[in-house]
């Protein structure tokens, strides 16, 4: 689905990403990990067309990404930004409706399908009760869930999520991840998620892109991330491993000195 070749991204002579090579197949679930400032958000923004490509190229379904109109892109991928949405002057429902932008011309009617997309998103993110609330009156975690709901309303085959579970309580963390897994599995939705949770990344169904200083340090299957050496190199942090009691997989715990 996505092919990234020798991508580099700059902002005013500062290189944020360089020589990024990876490709995402239809239905993949990629988790992007890496320390703070390694360029994870930058990568997602570049895929979404928010930051310009400096050199290299990105192709989406075999076509160079710059050949897509922004509207076409928005029908293929949706995006949950890191840390945003708390100052918006809209009600939750209005905001969700805005996600259906790319499916409409100015004259087209609001369809059942549109409404259904929104209702579904509200239900699965547990945000129905905020429907008429103004975005700026929501709590941090409530707002985060609405941002996810907005992206889901866009009903795209690919979704880009930048730390979607930050601010979520344990229950909603599990729920949202469950939800994404399910979308990935049953609807073949391709997912690229930025996360700091390596145990989440280390799932056998996931693939991992580990960035450090704007470059790819490693990429591979999820479970292979749980390597003491690799993690040390990535985060400068030691981990110990336990076996998870229910699924029997390894579970990494950061060591505290």
């Amino acid at each position: 689905m996505i092919e990234v070749n020798k991508l580099s991204v700059k902002i005013q002579d500062k290189t944020l990403l360089s020589g990024i090579d990876f490709h995402v197949d239809d239905g993949n679930y990629w988790v992007v990990v890496g320390p703070n400032g390694s360029g994870k958000s930058t990568l997602l923004k570049t895929l979404m067309g928010i930051l310009p490509i400096h050199s290299g190229q990105i192709s989406l379904n075999q076509r160079h990404i710059n050949q897509y109109k922004q509207r076409e892109r928005a029908q293929l991928m949706s995006y949950v930004p890191q840390n945003s949405g708390r100052e918006l002057p809209f009600s939750v429902e209005e905001f969700l409706k805005m996600s259906r932008y790319s499916y409409h011309s100015p004259l087209s009617e609001w369809s059942n399908q549109d409404q259904q997309a929104i209702e579904e998103a509200l239900t699965i993110t547990d945000t129905q009760s905020f429907r008429t609330r103004l975005m700026k009156t929501l709590s941090g975690g409530e707002c985060q869930r609405v941002m996810i709901a907005a992206a889901l309303s866009q009903q795209t085959p690919l979704i880009l999520l930048d730390e979607p579970t930050s601010y979520l309580d344990p229950h909603h963390q599990v729920e949202i991840h469950q939800l994404i897994n399910q979308l990935n599995k049953t609807h073949q939705m391709t997912v690229i998620e930025v996360s700091h949770d390596i145990n989440h990344a280390a799932h056998p169904d996931k693939q991992v892109l580990a960035l450090r200083d704007g470059q790819v340090l490693w990429q591979g299957n999820g479970p292979d991330l749980l390597d003491k050496q690799r993690l040390k190199q990535l985060y400068q942090q030691d981990f110990t491993f336990v076996v998870h009691p229910t699924n029997q997989r390894l579970f990494a715990l950061a060591e505290t000195p």
């Binding site: 923004k45 979404m48 067309g49 928010i50 109109k69 922004q70 509207r71 076409e72 892109r73 928005a74 029908q75 949706s78 995006y79 930004p81 945003s84 949405g85 918006l88 002057p89 809209f90 209005e94 905001f95 805005m98 996600s99 932008y101 790319s102 409409h104 100015p106 992206a151 866009q154």
Partner: protein
């Protein structure tokens, strides 16, 4: 009341005003021919002109406020109006009395002035790499100041009569309305309005910020260019024909926001209707209050609209 009900109410009120305005204060005229002439040749075009101008100015104000996330933005913020005024002042000063293609020379001067200002602001904003809203805003303001002081300069150079004429022009007003000027105004305002209505949903998304707008599929840069040029042309056209009428463009969108909310799919038509109806109302009062003399319409718009706005503001806060 839902937004659609409110919109219907505003539209209805606006139409009532529009349809009754021409008939008021005609009963004392005995002569039927005079009555006809006043009704058909003077009042009708004037009412229509007021509607178009009021709707256009309010709409452009609304667009600028949304586009720049700034409640103080007006259709005049980016320097279009002062460019137009400068063009008009030049023509008054040069003292030419020519008519070109049916436009009188002041109107032509004003429109050229508006175009110069738009091009200038656009060019400067390009020099700054990108089209960020804050620098565009500041560039516009500086341009606006610049042209305003050129006007002052011309006013300073001219004799009392010219200086009065320029001042008069700067006050704005609808007394130059005629079928002729109406025909000149309608296409400009209609096209701009159509473009803006067409872009209502994009305006909502621009208010949510560039990142979100892009990820929902809006071609932010193109939309911004399109809005910039169409509103600027619209303002240029209106100002060229009836001078700057300040309050409408700044406050009507705020009033409508307080009435109907921030969703542009409702706000845009409401602003058009309210702006048009409001200017007809004010112009009617301006004409009739101390008839036969006329009060400049800008005085009425503010004296009526200002307190209404404050009342809405207080009510919302307390409610």
């Amino acid at each position: 009341m839902t937004s659609s009900h409110k919109l219907i109410l505003i539209t209805l009120l606006s139409f009532i005003i529009a349809f009754s305005a021409p008939w008021i204060g005609l009963s004392d005229i005995a002569n039927e021919i005079v009555k006809q002439q006043i009704l058909l040749d003077i009042r009708l075009p004037r009412v229509m002109f007021a509607f178009v101008a009021g709707a256009g100015l309010s709409l452009c104000g609304m667009v600028f406020q949304a586009m720049f996330h700034n409640p103080l933005a007006t259709p005049f913020t980016l320097g279009v109006a002062s460019g137009a005024s400068f063009g008009a002042a030049c023509m008054v000063f040069a003292g030419l009395n020519v008519t070109l293609l049916g436009f009188d020379i002041i109107t032509i001067g004003a429109f050229i002035g508006a175009l110069v200002a738009i091009t200038f602001v656009f060019f400067i904003s390009q020099l700054q790499r990108g089209f960020s809203s804050e620098t565009l805003l500041l560039t516009g303001v500086a341009t606006s100041f610049f042209f305003s002081s050129l006007i002052l300069f011309i006013q300073y150079l001219s004799d009392m009569t010219d200086s009065f004429m320029i001042m008069r022009w700067l006050m704005g007003g609808l007394s130059s309305a005629s079928y002729h000027s109406l025909l000149q105004l309608i296409p400009i305002v209609t096209i701009s309005t159509a473009i803006i209505l067409w872009l209502s949903r994009e305006l909502n998304l621009l208010m949510a910020g560039d990142d979100i707008a892009l990820s929902r599929g809006v071609s932010v840069k193109q939309v911004r260019y399109l809005l910039f040029f169409s509103t600027s042309l619209c303002v240029g056209g209106i100002v060229a024909l009836c001078g700057p009428i300040g309050f409408i463009g700044m406050m009507v969108p705020h009033i409508c926001r307080l009435l109907i909310g921030t969703d542009h799919r409702w706000l845009t038509p409401a602003t058009i209707m309210f702006g048009g109806g409001f200017l007809i109302l004010c112009d009617g009062i301006a004409r009739l209050l101390i008839a036969p003399a006329e009060i400049p319409v800008g005085i009425i718009t503010t004296l009526l609209g200002g307190p209404f706005f404050l009342w809405l503001l207080i009510k919302r806060r307390q409610g």
